[in-house]
Amino acid sequence: MNALALERDGGDWRLHLQGDWSLAGMAQIDEEIGALPGDMSGTLVCDWSRARAPGIGPVWALVTRLAQLSGTGLQVRHVGGAPHTVALLQKLELERADVPSVPASAERGVRRAIGALGRWAVMQGIEARGVLGFFGRIATVLGHAVSRPGALRVPSIARHIYETGITAIPIVSLIAFLISVVVAYLGAQQLSKFGADIFVVDLVTIGVLREMGVLLTAIIVAGRSGSAFAAEIGFMQLNEETDALRAMGMNPVELLVVPRVLALIIALPLLTVIADAMGLAGGGLLSLLELHIPLAQFSVRLREALSPTTFWAGLIKAPVFALLIGMVGAYRGMQVRESARELGRLTTMAVVQSIFLVILADALFAVLFQKIDF
């Protein structure tokens, strides 16, 4: 059944409103209202006697449409138990000021593309300046800490070492162990073709100590702690906690950012040592079980394979990765404004960018170590 039935009544019109006029019928009612002829004149009588449960929304749609139509000199009357909201809605309709619509932007094609490129470039510039400034603020706090050790917040650093370091030990150990087993297994399969099984030890030890131990640890920590930094600081931004700190004369960078970054710089090398040890254990175990190399022989070969710098070439990268992860996480967290969606977006960005930067830095280290023969 239609919600509206229009009939001629002499020179006038009669509109029967019928059926379900609640919000649930809005879609159909709206369509039929839109289909009312625009050239009616005389008097239009709206008969509500057959409408069930008229809701405010549908009545509003009718009232606004009738107001448009009455511009052509149509008189409207409501009869048959009209809903009590009609008068209210008619009043709202009268108060409705014509809001001028904003003309759409006239830029087209090439102009717009160039404009977008320019805006992007400017945004990148602003971003770069922001990152540099952030780094500067951290450095300033560290500079103050020389003359005022209280600025270092030792209890806070300890808490974050626990959260980013100690609690990460199980997962870091497990992953380092498993990955080195996988690498040793792959290596064993290939090298046994040449009867060079013993070189699996070289592969695993150099691979784990120089690259995989620190890289895996950094990626896991970026996922665990980089995201946690961004989310914690971001929520504090949303909750105006950082503003409260500033208003009390405290520096959020000193209180929130520096302890996290320092804690990570301390925790990540330690985690790397654990990952290295677990990686070697994994390699040794696989060599024993799969290649039947006894552990004594494994450790002899291990010492022959390693140069004095192998271990340090891995470990030295850890604090740099920690600085990158900590700074990106905290920086993105400090950028959160206004909404929960921003928090999610920037947390994601923190993790993705910190992993990217870690891998980029690792590549640069590889080139550097190659050049200086480290």
Partner: protein, 266 residues
């Protein structure tokens, strides 16, 4: 206002709420009648918000029953529960607008979820609801973080009204507002109450608001509810109630209400 004999809209019987060893409600009774504005007051920590959350079905009580429109929300099947939830509107203390949606999208959110309709109709309804609560049209495209405190409260009310409920729950609707905005909100509430024939349950600490809008008041004291008209509360000898309504602020609010011609409901 004539004593209503109709079925109460909200009926709470013997409600017991506990958090560990801490007893918040100890046999609390409450009846809200159709078409009244019922104010709930009580000291901080007396369990006003817990009561509201229990009525809304967000929290399961340790004892007693809660019925809204004669149905116990804690014992309903999913479909019935959803129908009941859709029949009321709620505003939370901090507005609880979805921060990633614009004001118009916030208002349209429940409509979009429950009633399929074209975008044009949704825009129309968003405009209507914003008009009803007295927000300017340019507020529609703003995000919650860009609104003032008073506008957040109004936008939250617009969202609560979007499903055209007959029952409204308001948690401290005037808290954090300046007196002029708070008074304007009171007038808005009275206006909507009479125009849309609403039943309103309102938690408030705002004594002016209480005197201006509420027909009856329930005071939570020692885990139970003392219910009565404002005049009755003024004469209540219970020490907490006495100090609440006869403290310096209570007297000032009463005087102000009398100067204004008093409570419009008499």
């Amino acid at each position: 206002m004539a004593e209503s004999t109709a079925e109460p809209v909200v009926r709470v019987r013997g409600l017991i709420s506990r958090f560990g060893a801490q007893v918040v409600h100890d046999g609390l009774d409450l009846e809200v009648r159709p078409n009244e504005i019922f104010g709930i007051v009580g000291g901080s920590g007396s369990g006003k918000s817990v009561l509201l959350r229990t009525i809304l079905g967000l929290r399961r009580p340790q004892g007693g029953s809660v019925e809204v429109y004669g149905r116990d929300i804690h014992r309903l099947a999913r479909a019935e529960r959803l129908a009941l939830v859709r029949s009321w509107g709620v505003t939370f203390q901090t507005g609880a607008l979805i921060s990633s949606l614009s004001v118009a999208q916030n208002v349209q959110l429940p409509l979009r979820e429950y009633y399929p309709m074209p975008e044009y109709a949704l825009d129309q309804l968003a405009e209507l609801n914003l008009r009803l609560v007295g927000l300017p049209p340019d507020a529609a495209s703003k995000y919650p973080a860009q609104l003032s405190g008073g506008m957040v409260k109004r936008a939250a009310l617009a969202r609560a009204l979007s499903l055209e409920p007959k029952l409204l729950f308001l948690d401290e609707p005037t808290s954090g507002l300046d007196p002029i905005s708070a008074a304007a909100f009171d007038e808005l509430l009275l206006y909507l109450h009479s125009e849309l024939k609403l039943t309103v349950v309102m938690i408030t600490h705002d004594l002016d608001s209480l005197f201006r809008t509420c027909h009856r008041v329930g005071v939570i004291v020692d885990g139970r509810m003392v219910t009565g008209t404002l005049a009755g509360m003024m004469d209540n000898p219970q020490p907490w109630i006495h100090s609440y309504f006869h403290g310096p602020r209570g007297r000032a609010a009463e005087r102000a209400a009398q100067m204004d011609g008093g409570n419009p409901h008499g």
